[in-house]
Amino acid sequence: MNTWIQMIFYFGTLLILTRPLGTYMAKVYQGERLILDLVLGPVERFLYRLSGIDPRSEMTWKTYAVAMLLFNIIGLIAVYLLQRLQGFLPLNPQGLGAVSPDSAWNTAVSFATNTNWQGYGGEMTMSYLTQMLGMTVQNFVSAATGMAVMLALIRGITRHTTKKIGNFWVDMTRSVLYILLPLSLVLAMALVSQGVVQTFSEYQTATSLQSGETQLIAVGPAASQVAIKQLGTNGGGFFNVNSSHPLENPTPFSNFFQMLSILLIPAALCYTYGKMVGDTRQGWALLAVMTIVLVALLGVAIWSEQNGNPMFNEMGIDQVQSATNPGGNMEGKEVRFGIVNSSLWATVTTAASNGSVNSMHDSFMPLGGLVPMWMIQLGEIIYGGVGSGLYGMLAFVIIAVFVSGLMVGRTPEYLGKKIEAYEMKMASIIILIPVMVVLIGTAVALMSEAGRTTIFNPSAHGFSEVLYAFSSAGNNNGSAFAGLGANTPFYNIALGIAMLIARYWLAIPVLAIAGSLANKKKIPASAGTLPTHTPLFIVWVIGVIIIVGALSFLPALALGPIVEHLMIFG
């Protein structure tokens, strides 16, 4: 019963917030007057002036792409250098030394691409300065990059016969200043009130009760980073175990706030999208597609984890859910979250390209672990990353529109734009590239000694660890079956490459579609136009997503979680 109440509260709150935030973001992006202008307007203009940006001049899609790439490359280099030089830099009370070159490369790519895969343990590796100037900054700007690319695509759809799709600098800056910063500030304070640490002092010391020995407790400026890690669907934790750490996620409230912020902006962006294309039903339809898939898979995860591990039953352990016992498979889970909030988080964090965790996915039951893995493999479009989720979803919509057009023998169109060979090619690239990265990467790792030696769990589960790692990197999620020893030169380099390809080889074709659509004429809707907001279309898009996702990954999943499930229950 309580399970249902917690679910209803979660999705209810999310949907209630979708419209007001979505409306607000539409205002931000359409340059309407806002109350925050009073404070942020001067800051924004100052940034443009100092950077030599003319906010009124717009870019072609190619210039937009160049600006986006340049900005990301420079950010990547900055994070790399910070890690390599942190030993000589201030705000390093624990005296942590330079991060190894391969790990620093991996982390720099990881944060620039909004993946936030973590090959390192936060509290043992990164100085406060690196966490702030490197991680926190990239959390903001990588999220804003995704939102900017999304915005360019919206303009491509709404404009006609023009080559201009907006100004990357303006889109990025406004995303940071007007959306991400204010929300993060509010969330960070809410988290501190629950017990998330926020201090620059050294690690705390205390005397352990039983042993009388001195206990050292890692602290740091965590709340500010945790807030943006969730809101920006980044996911990189301050501490090694991410949001399962009691000082990063201390209470059920902090857990609720964090889970809510994971899906908040991706959900609201659907409304923003509908608003900006002049038909909010279009946004609601996409949100419906996302939510239906999410809820279905969530059910599988909760059911699988709550039923627990048959091995525990044989050993006489009580894992039946009751008023005093959360029950279920509690290995790798925290008591304050129990089964429900651990399963919900695992599903939500992989639906969005967030990747933060509040439980150890590696210790999930086979089907419980299949859910997050498959969520990632669907391409991070079920809500997805901020901006990137929606543009990925729109690639699927283009495919769906195209296929349905072929079926009835009409020229496919979407929101008044003809979908032609060029858009289809780009959409296919967007969908196929992650699939290739994941499957080829997994195959290479399994065929090489370097890839196999750091597998932690034996048998089919070990295969799942590698498949999960490349799925996560190849779709910019960042969560892991963390048993896999991924902080090795092989994985640092290979996963780094996977993350780079997955981010930019998707963003560039998206911008290409934006440029191509912007250049087209607008055609009025006719009786032959397929409406794209109806239940029929929602079901159709879900079908396309499931078929593509299933066909691409079912063989691989069969070798991992599915065979493991059969070994346990078969």
């Binding site: 340049l70 900055a78 304070m189 009760l209 602290v219 590696d362 034996p458 048993g483």
Partner: protein
């Protein structure tokens, strides 16, 4: 390309100042002002002595104390970690079996079955809580070893049981360190 280089570098530098320095410093300032106890790690300080953090579990294996979740990190609060054992991993079976035996050896006549959270490792290795069932399971052992009566220990467990937040969120639980401090009469 060249035209975009200056905005790229300058804007990154400026946004680094805003989001990487101004923002975390603002949050730190507000946090230290409004929630100093929470922002610094929720330490339990009694008569000038810090006994630990309310939110960070500690190692307990003395029969007179309540035991917390098994920890893959050895309760090292500078190196959080889960076990990452898969559900079929033979090592998982071994370590769980060993934990069952340790619990039974410390309290051979306990008729209750062992709640799952008491023999499985937490996600963080620092979980400060156990389930209410896991606390109640240990009452007989703690009562015997500490010399306090079962009724007294049970009432302490009830006193330190936290319900769901607002009656809805999360799971009911018992904070092990706080409960053990109470057993020692420190709190």
């Amino acid at each position: 390309m060249k035209a975009q280089l200056r905005p790229a570098i300058t804007l990154l530098a400026l946004l680094t100042i805003i989001t990487g320095a101004v923002y975390p410093l603002t949050v730190t300032g507000l946090a230290q002002l409004l929630f100093p106890q929470q922002a610094n790690g929720s330490l339990i300080v009694i008569d000038g002595k810090a006994y630990g953090s309310e939110l960070i579990g500690q190692q307990f294996d003395d029969p007179k104390y309540f035991w917390g979740r098994p920890s893959a990190a050895g309760y090292n609060a500078t190196a959080s970690s889960g076990s990452n054992y898969g559900p079929m991993n033979p090592t998982l079976e071994e370590v769980v079996q060993a934990r069952i035996e340790a619990l039974q050896a410390a309290d051979p006549n306990n008729p209750l079955s062992i709640p799952v959270d008491l023999v499985t490792a937490s996600a963080s290795g620092l979980d400060p809580h156990i389930s209410v069932a896991a606390a109640l399971y240990q009452v007989s052992r703690v009562a015997t070893a500490s010399g306090l009566g079962e009724a007294e220990v049970t009432s302490l467990v009830e006193q330190y049981t936290e319900g769901r937040q607002l009656g809805i969120f999360g799971e009911p639980r018992v904070n092990v360190l706080l409960l053990n401090l109470a057993l020692d009469g420190i709190q």
